[in-house]
Symmetry: C2
Subunit: 771 residues, 2 copies
C-alpha cells in the first residue's frame, strides 16, 4: 500500500522528468537545424523559411544566443496567446474543438475538485474505521485510504453526503456538457456557413449507382439527377478505381528515395561505385551497381504507371459506381444529401461529400450488402480482439522463453546461455510482445475501420477511437480494477448476477486509487511532456536530411509534422474523464492529479497545434457527439459503481436516490442527442439558403462549374508532374472539360493547398491567395 510519502516521491520523480523534457525541448527547439521539426506548421503554411541563410555557418545549425535559453518556458504563455478565432483560421475547427476537450476537463473537474475537497475529504477524514480495523484486525491501510470513502463505517448516515455530492457532480457535469455542446454546435454551423466557398458545400457523394447496360456511370448519374433535381443539378465527377495506380506511385517514390540516397553517397566519395545485394534487407543475393539498378527499376515502374494510368482513364471497368455530384446551390446539395432518392434504399445512396482531402478513396465502391456483412464481421472480430487478445500474446510469450528459443533455433544456444543474455531475454521479451501489440493496436483498429467501408478519413478515425475507448475501458480500467485478463473478467461477469457486478467493481475502486494516481503521473504528466519533444519525427528528419535530402523540396518532404491523431488521443483523454468521475465521490485525492493533466495537456497540445501538427482533413468538429456520448457514459459508469460500493456498505436506504441518477442522465443524453446532434449530421436549409442568397448577390457571375469541375479528382491525378495528359483524358468523362492551370504546377514546395487551409480551393479562382 502506497503512503502519502510514496505518492509524493513518485510525483517528484514525474514532475522532474516532465521538467527535464521541457528543458531538452527548450534547447532543441532553439537550434536552427531543428526548426523544421518544431515549427513545421509554419513551414507548411509558407510563413517561415529555412533560417538565417546569410549568417555564419555554425549559426545555421546551433543557436549561440544564450539569452534565449533563459526563457525556456516561454512557449507556454505564447501557446495560450493566440485567440480562438485566429486559431480556427490557423489550424482549422477540428483542432480547436479538440483542444476544447481538455478545456472541458478543466471546466468539469475544477469545481468538482474544490467541492469534493471541501465536503468529502473532511467527512471521510474524521472517521476512524480504518484506524480501528488496523488495531483490531491488523488490516493495513494507507493515508490515502483515510481520505476515501473506505474510512466511513457501514450503516453510517455520512453516506448521504456522498449521495448529495454525486447529484451535485452529475448536475454540474451535465450543465457543462450542455453548454459545451451548444457552443460547439454553434461553432460548427458558423464554420460551415463561413464566408469561404468550399466544394463540399455544393457536393454530394452518390454511392451504389446501379449498373446500366447502355450508359456510362457518368451519363447515368447526369440523367438521373437532371430528372430528379431538374433545376439544381450542375455537374458530376466519377470516381476511378486508382488504388493500384496509387500503389505504383508510392512504390516509385520509395525507389526514388533509394536512388537519391546512393547518388548522394556516390557524390561524396566519388571514386567508388556502390554495389548492393538484392536479397532480403540487402544481406544476401546478387550484387549489382546500386545507381544503375535503381534507375532501371524506376524506369520500369514509370512505364507500369503509364500503362496503369492509361487503363484507369480509358477502361470503363475502372470507373466505380460512385460519383461526386455538384449542385448549383448549397440548398440543393443540402436537400439531396438529406433525402432518399429511389425506392431501393441501397441504390443511389446520397450523403454529404467529405472534404476533398478527407475522402478515403479505396472504399467508395463497396456495395450495400457487403457493407452490412463487413460491419457484422468487424463487430465480432472486435469482440474477440478485446476479450481474447491476451491469448495469442501469451502464446508468443511462452515461445519467447529461453527454452522456446533454443527449441526453435538450436544454433542460438551458445548466445542464449550466456548469463547476461539470459536475464535480458527473460526480463524483456515477454513484455515486448505485449508492448508491440499495444503499439500496433491503433493501426489494427484503423485497418478494421477501413475494412468496414467508411468513406472518409474522419469517420474512420471516429470509429477507431470508439473501439480504442472500449478496448481501454476493458483492458486498462476494468483489468486494473478487477485484476485479471479480459476474458477471465468476461467469464466472471457472465457468471455473476447483474447487481453483483457493480458491487465487485465498486468495492475494488477505492483500493486502486494509488495505482491510478501513479498511472496518471506517468502516462498523463510525463507522457504529455514527452509528446512535445517529437522524438520520432526529430530523428527521422535528421536521418532523411543526412541521407536523402538534395533540394529544398526534399527537405520539405522530410518533415513529418504528424497530426492530432484523434483515433488514439481522444480515447486516452476519455480515460481521464472516466477516472475523474469515478473517483470524485470515492477518493477525491485523485482529482488534483487529473486537473494537472488536463492543464498540462491543454498547453502542450495548443502549442503543438499552433507550431507543429499539420491538419490532414477538416471535419468541422464532426466528432463532438462521440466525445459528449463518452463523457456521459463515464458519468453513468461512475454512478453505477458508486451504487455498487454503497450497496456493500449497507447504505441501502440510499439506493433509490442513486438509481434515479443514471435514469436522469440517460434522459439528459437523449435530450442532447435530439437537440444538438442534428447539427453534426445535417445541414439546415435556412443556413444554406442564406448563404446562397448572399453569394448570388455578391458574385452574380460566378463560374461555379469551373470551380467544382475537378474538386474531387483522385489524389494520384493531382499535384503530379506529368498529369497534363491525364487531365485531358479525364476530361473525356466530363462534358465540358475546363482545364484548370493551377493543377499542373508542381505543388511540392508548398504542399497542396487543400491540405492546409480550411477553405480548400482546388482550382483557379483563389490560387493567387495561396502563394
Amino acid at each position: 500500500m502506497a503512503t502519502l510519502q510514496d505518492i509524493g516521491v513518485s510525483a517528484g520523480i514525474n514532475i522532474l522528468s516532465a521538467f527535464i523534457f521541457f528543458i531538452i525541448f527548450a534547447i532543441l527547439r532553439l537550434q536552427p537545424f531543428n526548426d523544421r521539426v518544431y515549427f513545421s506548421k509554419w513551414y507548411l503554411k509558407g510563413l517561415r523559411s529555412s533560417p538565417a541563410r546569410g549568417g555564419a555557418f555554425v549559426q545555421r545549425f546551433v543557436n549561440l544566443d544564450f539569452r534565449s535559453y533563459m526563457k525556456f518556458l516561454n512557449w507556454m504563455p505564447e501557446a495560450l496567446k493566440m485567440p480562438e478565432p485566429e486559431l480556427i483560421n490557423h489550424a482549422g475547427l477540428d483542432s480547436v474543438v479538440y483542444l476544447r476537450i481538455y478545456w472541458l476537463g478543466l471546466k468539469i473537474f475544477t469545481p468538482i475538485a474544490v467541492l469534493a475537497w471541501a465536503v468529502l475529504v473532511p467527512v471521510n477524514w474524521t472517521n476512524n474505521t480504518l484506524e480501528l480495523a488496523r488495531q483490531l484486525r491488523n488490516v493495513t491501510s494507507s493515508d490515502i485510504d483515510k481520505l476515501s470513502v473506505s474510512n466511513i463505517p457501514e450503516y453510517s448516515m455520512r453516506f448521504w453526503s456522498h449521495i448529495v455530492m454525486a447529484y451535485a457532480f452529475t448536475i454540474w457535469t451535465c450543465y457543462v456538457l450542455l453548454k459545451e455542446y451548444e457552443t460547439i454546435a454553434d461553432m460548427r454551423l458558423q464554420y460551415v456557413a463561413s464566408e469561404a466557398r468550399r466544394p463540399d458545400q455544393f457536393t454530394v457523394l452518390v454511392r451504389n449507382v446501379p449498373p446500366d447496360a447502355d450508359e456510362s456511370v457518368s451519363e447515368l448519374v447526369e440523367h438521373f439527377f437532371l430528372v430528379n433535381h431538374p433545376d439544381h443539378y450542375l455537374t458530376n465527377q466519377v470516381v476511378c478505381n486508382a488504388n493500384k495506380l496509387a500503389d505504383l506511385v508510392q512504390k516509385k517514390k520509395k525507389l526514388q528515395n533509394w536512388l537519391d540516397y546512393y547518388q548522394l553517397k556516390y557524390a561524396r566519395n566519388n571514386s567508388q561505385r556502390i554495389m548492393v545485394k538484392l536479397g532480403f534487407l540487402g544481406l544476401w543475393g546478387q550484387r549489382v551497381d546500386a545507381i544503375e539498378h535503381y534507375t532501371a527499376e524506376i524506369d520500369k515502374v514509370s512505364k507500369e504507371i503509364a500503362i496503369e494510368r492509361e487503363e484507369v482513364v480509358n477502361d470503363p471497368k475502372s470507373i466505380m459506381p460512385a460519383s461526386f455530384v455538384s449542385f448549383k446551390t448549397r440548398w440543393a446539395a443540402a436537400v439531396c444529401a438529406q433525402t432518399q432518392q429511389t425506392r431501393n434504399p441501397t441504390q443511389w445512396l446520397t450523403e454529404w461529400a467529405p472534404e476533398p482531402r478527407d475522402v478515403y478513396w479505396p472504399n467508395l465502391a463497396i456495395p450495400y450488402v457487403s457493407l452490412t456483412v463487413r460491419r457484422l464481421i468487424m463487430h465480432v472480430a472486435f469482440f474477440f480482439l478485446t476479450f481474447f487478445f491476451i491469448i495469442p500474446i501469451a502464446f508468443v510469450q511462452s515461445l519467447a522463453t529461453i527454452e522456446g528459443i533454443v527449441k526453435a533455433a538450436p544454433f542460438l544456444k551458445v548466445i542464449v546461455e550466456n548469463d547476461f543474455m539470459k536475464s535480458l531475454i527473460q526480463g524483456f521479451l515477454p513484455g515486448i510482445a505485449l508492448k508491440l501489440f499495444l503499439i500496433f493496436l491503433p493501426s489494427i483498429l484503423m485497418i478494421m475501420s477501413k475494412f468496414e467501408g467508411f468513406t472518409s478519413i474522419s469517420s474512420l478515425e471516429r470509429r477507431s477511437a470508439f473501439r480504442y475507448y472500449i478496448f481501454n475501458f476493458v483492458n486498462v480500467f476494468l483489468a486494473s480494477v478487477v485484476t485479471g485478463a479480459a476474458f477471465e473478467q468476461l467469464s466472471a461477469f457472465l457468471n455473476q448476477s447483474p447487481n453483483q457486478i457493480p458491487k465487485t467493481i465498486g468495492v475494488a475502486i477505492p483500493m486502486k486509487a494509488t495505482f491510478f494516481i501513479t498511472y496518471i503521473m506517468v502516462d498523463g504528466w510525463a507522457g504529455v511532456a514527452g509528446e512535445i519533444l517529437m522524438l520520432k519525427p526529430l530523428i527521422m528528419f535528421h536521418l532523411k536530411n543526412a541521407f536523402l535530402v538534395k533540394t529544398e523540396k526534399d527537405r520539405e518532404e522530410a518533415m513529418d509534422p504528424g497530426s492530432i491523431g484523434f483515433n488514439t488521443g481522444e480515447p486516452r483523454i476519455q480515460l481521464y474523464f472516466l477516472l475523474g468521475l469515478v473517483y470524485a465521490p470515492v477518493t477525491p485525492m485523485l482529482l488534483p492529479f487529473i486537473l494537472v493533466f488536463f492543464a498540462l495537456a491543454y498547453i502542450v497540445y495548443r502549442h503543438q497545434i499552433i507550431n507543429v501538427y499539420n491538419q490532414e482533413y477538416e471535419s468541422a468538429a464532426a466528432f463532438w457527439p462521440d466525445v459528449h456520448g463518452r463523457v456521459i457514459t463515464a458519468l453513468i459508469i461512475s454512478q453505477l459503481l458508486l451504487m455498487g460500493l454503497l450497496g456493500t456498505k449497507h447504505a441501502a436506504l440510499a439506493a433509490p436516490f442513486l438509481i434515479a441518477l443514471p435514469v436522469l442522465t440517460i434522459g439528459f443524453h437523449r435530450f442532447c442527442k435530439g437537440r444538438y446532434e442534428p447539427a453534426f449530421i445535417r445541414y439546415p436549409l435556412q443556413e444554406a439558403m442564406m448563404k446562397d442568397t448572399l453569394e448570388s448577390a455578391r458574385e452574380p457571375n460566378l463560374n461555379l462549374k469551373g470551380y467544382l469541375q475537378s474538386a474531387y479528382v483522385h489524389p494520384v491525378f493531382r499535384g503530379d508532374e506529368d498529369d497534363d495528359d491525364i487531365d485531358d483524358k479525364l476530361g473525356k468523362f466530363e462534358d465540358e472539360a475546363i482545364i484548370v492551370p493551377t493543377k499542373r504546377q508542381s505543388r511540392r514546395n508548398t504542399p497542396a493547398p487543400s491540405r492546409i487551409s480550411g477553405e480548400s480551393s482546388p482550382s483557379l479562382p483563389f490560387s493567387g491567395k495561396e502563394v
Copy 2:
C-alpha cells in the same frame, strides 16, 4: 401433468365451442335486424341500405328462408374470395397488410411444423430417458413430454439434430421475413404512389414554430417557407387548440342522446311526464322534468359552444405553434419533410403530415423539451407498470376479502355472512380485480402513448402495441414459464448470472408445453371464433336501436363497427410467433395448434375486414417494421432459450454453433433495417417526381390550392351543421379563403368521406364521386 387424452378432451371442447360460435354467428348474421352489425362496412361505404323495406313486417327482422341456414359456413370461402388488390381498395392497405401477419405465420410455421414432425419427433420419441426416470426415480411424465427434447438423455449426440433444425428454422424464418418485407415495402410504395391524389402527399406538419412578437403564426410560417422553399411553397393551415370545444361538442351530443331517449319514452306512453333525479346515477337529488331539463341543458351547452367557438377562432392564444404546410409538388413536400430547416433542431420541426383522419390533434402543440421529459417519465412509468402492477392489485385483492369488506363497510356484514354470498365473493372478487386491470390495460397504454406526445393515431397505436407486447412477454410468457409475479422474476434475474437466466427459463420451457397448448386453444381458437360474433356491438346496437334511434341517421350512428385494433391485436399475434419459434425445436407437438390458430384467425379477420370493421385511418402499413422487428426478437429469444436448455443437457460442444445463431440473426435484422425500413419512413424523391410529372401532364390546370386549402381543418369544424360562420372566420387566417361548399352539407348520413376511402378528398373537386 396432462396426457395426450387430456389435450384431446380440451381440444374437443374448444373445437366444439368454436363450432357453436360459428353456428350462432351463422344464425345471427342472417337476421335482417342484425344486418347493420354484421355488414356495417358495406353500410358505411353506402353500398348497402336497410334491408327489405317493402317486405312483410316479420321478414324485416327475422330471416325465414331456411335454405340459407344450411350453408352456415358459407362465409369462409366468401371471405377468401376477394382478391388482394380489390381488398386494398375496399379496406385500405393497413387492413390488408395486417392480414398478411397471419399469412406470414402460416408461411413460417407450415414448413417448420412438417420438418419438426419429420425429424425431431422421431428423434425425441425413440429414447427412453423419461421411461427410465419413471421406473428408477418415480418421476412422472406425460406422453407429450416423450415427444419433446426432455426425452433425450444428457450428453447425447442426438442434440445435433436439434441444432441443425434450429439453423434450418432460423434460415427459413429469415428468408420468409425478407421476402415479406420486400413485398410489403413494394406494396406501400405502390400505394403511396397510386394514382389518387391525397392531401398528405403535398403536406408537411411543421411543429414548434418559434413565437414571434410581430407576426401571427400563419404569417410567420408563410414567410419562413417563402424564403426557404421559394419555388415550392403553396399554402398553410394553422392548428387551433380546439380541445375544449371538442369536449363541449361531445357533451352536447350525450345530452342530445338523453333528450332523444326521454322524448321517445314520452311519445310511447304520452300521458305521463317523465321525472328524473339529478344526483349520482339518477338515484337521488332533485326531481325535475326530464325533457325540460335536457332541453335547457342543451341550450346552455350550445351557448357555451358558440362562445368557445368564437374564442378559438378569434383569440390568437388558441392558435397553436404548429401548422400544416402544403407545397406545389410532392417532390417539394418530400424534400421539406426529410430535411432540417434551421440551426435549432427543436424549432421548425418538419415531418410528413399524417392523413387528415389520422391526426391526433391534442398533441400538436407540445414543445420539444417537454417531449423529452414526457418520454422519460413514460419509460419509467411503463417499467413500474410492467413489473409492479401486481402490487396494487394484490392490495385491492386483500381488501376484497370478506374481512376487508366487513371492516370497510360494517353495514354489509349481514349480507356478507350469508354462506352463498361468502363463497361468491371469495371466488370472484380477487379475480375480478385482475381481470378489470387487464381489460383496461390497452386503454392505460394508449393514454400513456398520448401523454408521450405522438401526433398521429397510427403512431399512438404502434407505441401502445410495442408496450403491450413487452407486457405480454413479461407477464404472460415469462410469468407462465417461470412461475411467479413479474417483480419476483425481476429480482430473481437481477440476482442470477446472465448465463444462468436462459438456463432457468430454457429448462422450464418443455414442462410448460401442455399449458401453452391449452392457452392457444382457449385464447386462440375459441377467442378468435368468439370475435366474429361481435357481441358487444350487437348488444349496443340493439339497445341504442330500442331507446335512442329516431331517424335513419341515428341508426347509422348506432353502429359501432370497430376497427382492427392494432394496439391489442398485433401483440397478441406476436405471442403466437414467440410460442411457435420457442417450441419448434423443443416440443414440436405445439406447432399444429399454432397453425390452426393462424389459419382460423386469417379467415375470421379477413371476413371481419371485408364486412364489418371500419378503418379509422390509413398509415400505409407503417407498422410493418415493428412487426418484423418483433418476429426477429422472438427468433433471438428462442435461440437463447434453446442454448440455455441444451446447456443444462451438457451438450456443451454445441454451444459455439448456437452462439453464432443470434449473432447472425442480429446481422440479418440490421441488413433488413437498412434495406427496407427507409421505405416506411421516407418518401423517395424519384417516386414523387414521377408522380408530379404525370399529374402536371394530365391536369395542367389543377387548382391544387383549392384542393388543399381546408384539408387539415380540425374535426370539430367540419361536418357540423352550423359551421358556415366558422368557415368565414377561419378564412381570416388564410390569405385567400376559397370557400368550399361541400364542407357545409351535412355528412351524417354517409359519414365523412375521409373516414372511408383511402383517397380522402375533403373538398370540392371530387365530391361528385363519393355520392
